[in-house]
Symmetry: D2
Subunit: 477 residues, 4 copies
């Protein structure tokens, strides 16, 4: 059944027994480890939104592959401009509530296009296998962990020349499949997945043939290990503090393949080094368009929190500098979202059927919004005030001797109780003065390729010669 | 015949004898006055692009009103998302060649929507008159001069309380029409038009009833006068210098209505003050979306010129700071254009049939790109070098005794002759160090409403309450 | 003895028994509580730098009040331009190592000037008392906790009209002193001090007379309570992670005065409401000049860390975008520091002998650098890479089964071991992706008055009329 | 007599008969050519300010070389920190009135330091000659034209390999002097000078020995030619329009040396290629510090004009966006000026006695302010309004039939007549929408080295290693 509820999702995890480590210790049950609670909770929320009657119409779509409903954000291969525009709206909406929309369908869609290309170029038959894999995901409702980024090692050397090779590679070919070793970094939500998908992350040369590998395996395949860095939220339960990060956001894992066997039907690329460059390019079109919408959502969340702080502080939007900063954030969000839609409007269909947004607009819009986050965090500090880094803790508030002092001292707007003000300032703290702040910066600046990759894409694709020629014509040269 | 050639356009002007002044003197023949040559030339180019076989397919469209082809940019009422997206591309293309695309259809479209609303609200019958007027324009191929901005006088007082009233207003109602007096500012290309259209520029109150007036009259209607400020280009003929402004860009006129009679069939609004606010709002959606594309075109032109200068200077894009500045300009252009398309993708149809782009995205994108122009002009100076303000003049180059010295001294890249380099640097000079620079800044910063109007629109339309509520939910308040 | 060593400082704390709370619990021994260890350590480091033979020449100065050496940053009243310039250098140096230079002498200096003014205006004799207090501090080497910011409550009402008054105020006058109640916020390092000094934070009106109060009391005076928010560093001991915040940075406290008696000789202002405005103004001159240097130091630290990450990642400064970002940070640091020195060069001596830097330059420079921090943090993410939010934890590294995998996977530049790279990335994490990040933003954006206060000061003091008059003369008006 | 009045200066020009061309034609009398009137007028104003009793105390100083008063900005070799700070104030003041302070003493001072170094390094005796030359200038009050920038030709080749050599070089050595040929670009005010000084503009290699030449000759030396590009102001006389550029700002000339003989006593460098690098470096310290103050003055002028426009438009500083933009400009001016003073405060004395400001602060401050000009020009457009590019011309205003219409239509604030408003808007036009705008951009972006040169200086001089080492220590590496 394609659309699992959150609870069904948790249940489905119990069939798997992956080798996962958190803070140096082996995790027994992924679904109940305290340091994985935000991860599981985040993924559950994603399942519920596609399943629950109130939101299903928006978040689910009938898959042309299976004829069954699937979650748009997680498992649908985007095939029309409409798909792209709808997904942009959903992404903004979810990331404006819990930072990450879990848009794994982006990765599955770009991989779809690359694998199609491989078969076209090499006469191989990977694509039907991949279609079967996608059907399996859509029918089972399983979640994937995405392994794209290799460690890269010494950057002055190609993968094949590394003194200590760590990038994922084929180490043995067998009749019924391949054996791979190596590491993929930045596996967001990793331990919460059922399947691990790995693909190449950059252009490769002929000598790097064995690094040209794409595959999928169940998360508890022997030899597969994940070292998960706890999500940014607090490890201890809280009520008033960290209202967002105590509930949502996932771990980030290092995924280790130590001689992992991949059966033939889950091998989607093996040696076609010349096609490896396609994946990062399609990724640059599709996932960065999506990220424009994602960052718009973050901006919505930051500005909504700022406006609420301004009210709780008793100022509201009356001071022109507060109104201006909030308007400036609105405009940044809308510019990014405008580019998400505009890249969709200027996109085109890939031969495989995937609809690819325009890369230049997507990368330009993303470069703009990601350069603003630091400024927006500063605005949130500015509007919320110094208290977000100096206020008493939840434990102080819960001490009945201290509470009356705090209650009097931090009362501000008559429209909010002191406790409400503290709750609101704690949300600002969570966003702008916590480990979550770092994660938000990391997501924005480095995820989906760092800012310089945006510049490279635009520089390569923009038709500069035609502009130079117009200048020549006007100048009469 | 709807699509005039440029020459037919010039011919058509000879039927009219408007009262036009330039530098304090009455102009006899508009079509041959030396200080109006760039204006007429600019408008001719617009006519030719819709008529000539090579470009007609892009620039002309069959009007649903007349069944004949009309110029998309000048006279087509935009009715579909496709219209909006196509026009954005055309606007960028033309403004990337000669700064101004002459998109008078924007004004006609927003007025169409407002007049429709007036009839809906008041049971009046202006709309059929306006449709007839548009048909007349489309069938005759006539150009309009657009009068929207009133002088406003003492800003602390409403129009009706001005000690020296200058805003356009009804001064007499007659059986067969009305008599109006007042002034409209910023009439771009004014003397090159056949018809003058005037509409209100802001929200009005009940006491300002007589200022709620919309109308069209032939340009040579008695009592109508235009004082035209010469276009920014040189007044004397040149070959090498000012390659853009010596050929294109129009005058800006002050249009004076001194008891001008408007026959009933050309009165489109008369007293419906409550609907006046609609026009600036529709304008804010539609024309600012268009201006995102227009500013993208300017950016294309500036960066193309910068890249050409870099080559002529013998550096090309090798120095990373040059490449970075040019890439930065590309990204700004694409962000603005992405918002033009995105506002189209998020737009919706007005009851009158006009397709209105999304106002929030359009205003956000425009605010971004207009804030960049000063920086881009600085980049062009930086890349072109100090010579654009210190190089010898065309006359020096034409002096055979001086030319050899200049020729040696200013030779740079072996791929360009010194004369070619001078021509290229003169284009940079024209864009970044001339009166045209000022016009470009004026067009960008103040035309279509100043930057603060973008902020006001976004601030009003963005759904802040929903964002505050999400923050409340997360904070648990 | 004026210059205590760090150990002597700790010893000196044992004489006091303040009422301090951390995470809701009463602290027994301030000097050995685990959540106060960074606070005590930070203050110790400040004592040691003024005392140790290697650095004493820079950090200590002979006090003209006592003839003995005192710490420049902590206890010296700045009296010459030289004092200002030297202190700017020291501040940059220390804040470039451990974020906060502990420049309590700034607060003592501005208070010196205000108290002098009170006596001049009112014929009172507070100033000699204050001089005695400063001598006591200098002779004992005691640290102060600074209470300036009142909670302000409902911002639409003055202190005297608050429904729940919380600002510090006189509640009783006795023959031998006064009794005060109320709260001061943002008491940095509070529990590590020996004396608490409180002063007004804003202009007051005649009805707010009882809020015009300045005083000093020992930290363990009955009725004085501090609720300390733990410093941003980790609560558990670490080796590799959080290398800065696990050692330095202080708690932030809310300081409660619950009917605290202040003996007459420690009352420095009592009712002179008209002089209260002086303190924030002198503070705006002096402390913001100092903060320009402080923020320059933070920028030095961020860029030094970024450059080290670039090396450990095997890229160094070769990629032009890395070099550009680091250079951009250098220039921001130097612009701020240039303004710190420039404000000193343009400063003047107050009648009390305190040397006041120029307020316009100080506020302008500070506004600039504080607007850059968010951008610089983004640069650090960009250069350090996504690993700072996804890398394995210290506990994973210490697991001997996991270490080999991590060691191979995260090896990069051959010039650094993987452990070294992890240590370096953990410093980047500490600065840009941790609770310390939030504290850094809080220190930069809100401490010493929020950005809008910079604008207000400049707007008030800049001689706009003279500039308008020059424009008039040129325009011939 | 060292301090000439403006009239005496004009008289002094009549002794010289330089070969000057303007718009391709040979100029007969420099002092009365209509296209040189702004140049002469600008220089006259500089003479008058040092001579007139009201301003002499500020603008003149007793030269230690001659014991007579000389103009600080034009001819004084700066020798103390006080000299630097005073000159920064004067520069800001004058450039805030007429854009350019004519700070030729900067060039003379940096040359002083380089020539001193040459003698130290090579045992030559140029320095005493140069001192004599400076005395001659100070005693005669003569003006210099400064030739530093060579044309550079094909940038991929050194001077000695150019196919068409144009850089200044020695072409013959004679017993009593040298003969030089080549060109210097960007000679501001050139035709208004009495002496031409030429120096190298960049680091040279051993093969470029003959390009290592420094010299001074009278402007009418045979073989010396100047091609002067007219100053940006109008060529025809005006009353209301272009109020600044019609009176001030100078031509920019190309200075041609066609086998010019330089007698031995005016040769200051001849072949010492290893010292050529010093001049641009000293220039980078000293002239860029000065330019920080200069750009602060421009900003003062722009914001003063903006504030006056806001009043004449009837809005004043009430709208928060106007107030904010003006405050932002104030802060930019003060930040630049703060760096001018700060670079002075951090400067040091060169062995030759010249006081050199700190290069890092000067270059950082300059990079900041020059990046703001485009934004400030946009602000001026924004605040002044669209009229600055659309208003009627002076000739229209002078037409008695048109004036009443204009008078009514453009009346705004009751505190200004329409004519006053027009005068004020014409000043804004002059600054932000005219050829002067281009000159202002050119002066700001490219004069004194383009922005990338600021980055290079800072990158080279900033002590990055010490910052990296601090990061290492903290990280424990």
């Amino acid at each position: 059944m394609a659309l699992l509820s959150g609870d069904e999702y948790v249940e489905s995890l119990k069939v798997f027994s992956p080798e996962v480590y958190v803070r140096g210790e082996r995790v027994d049950k992924v679904w109940e480890h305290p340091l994985l609670r935000q991860t599981i909770n985040h993924l559950k929320a994603g399942y519920d939104q596609a399943r629950s009657p109130e939101t299903r119409a928006k978040f689910a779509v009938t898959s042309p592959l299976t004829g069954e409903d699937v979650s748009r954000l997680h498992l649908h291969i985007q095939q029309t401009q409409e798909d792209v525009l709808v997904k942009a709206r959903l992404t903004r909406e979810v990331s404006g509530r819990r930072i990450c929309a879990g848009c794994m369908s982006n990765m599955l869609s770009v991989t779809w296009a690359m694998i199609f290309d491989i078969d076209q170029a090499h006469g191989t038959t990977y694509f039907p296998r991949y279609v079967e894999f996608i059907k399996h995901l859509q029918q089972s409702g399983q979640a994937i962990a995405w392994g794209m980024m290799d460690p890269k090692g010494d950057r002055s050397l190609p993968p094949s020349k590394q003194p200590r090779p760590a990038d994922l590679r084929v180490v043995e070919r067998r009749a019924d499949g391949i054996v791979v070793s190596g590491v993929k970094l930045h596996t967001t939500y990793g331990p919460g997945a059922h399947q691990v998908v790995a693909v190449p992350c950059r252009a490769l040369g002929p000598q790097d043939e064995k690094f040209a590998v794409a595959l999928a395996v169940p998360i508890d395949t022997p030899g597969l290990k994940m070292i998960a860095r706890p999500s940014p939220g607090p490890s201890r339960p809280v009520d008033l503090e960290s209202p967002l990060s105590s509930r949502f956001m996932g771990v980030e894992a290092m995924t280790i393949f130590d001689r992992v066997f991949v059966p033939e039907e889950r091998v989607f690329m093996c040696g076609e080094w010349d096609q490896a460059v396609k994946l990062p390019f399609y990724f640059a079109c599709l996932h960065r368009q999506s990220k424009c919408a994602c960052s718009a959502g973050h901006t919505d969340l930051i500005l909504g929190t700022a406006a609420l702080c301004a009210r709780a502080n008793g100022l509201g939007l009356k001071p022109s500098h507060i109104r201006d900063k909030i308007t400036e954030m609105m405009m940044a969000a809308e510019t990014a979202f405008g580019c998400a839609l505009g890249a969709g409007a200027a996109g085109s269909e890939h031969a495989s059927g995937v609809f690819l947004p325009d890369a230049i607009i997507a990368n330009s819009g993303l470069d703009h919004i990601r350069s603003r986050l630091g400024i927006h965090l500063s605005h949130l500090h500015d509007i919320a005030g110094g208290l977000i880094v100096t206020m008493p803790t939840e434990a102080d508030w819960n001490n009945p001797e201290l509470r009356p002092y705090i209650d009097d001292a931090l009362a501000a707007s008559p429209e909010f109780t002191t406790e409400e003000r503290l709750r609101i300032l704690n949300l600002a703290q969570d966003l702008a003065a916590s480990r979550l702040t770092g994660t938000l910066l990391g997501f924005t600046i480095n995820a989906a390729g760092s800012p310089v990759t945006n510049k490279i894409v635009v520089n390569r694709l923009y038709d500069l010669e035609s502009r130079v020629n117009i200048a020549r014509q006007i100048a009469g040269v």
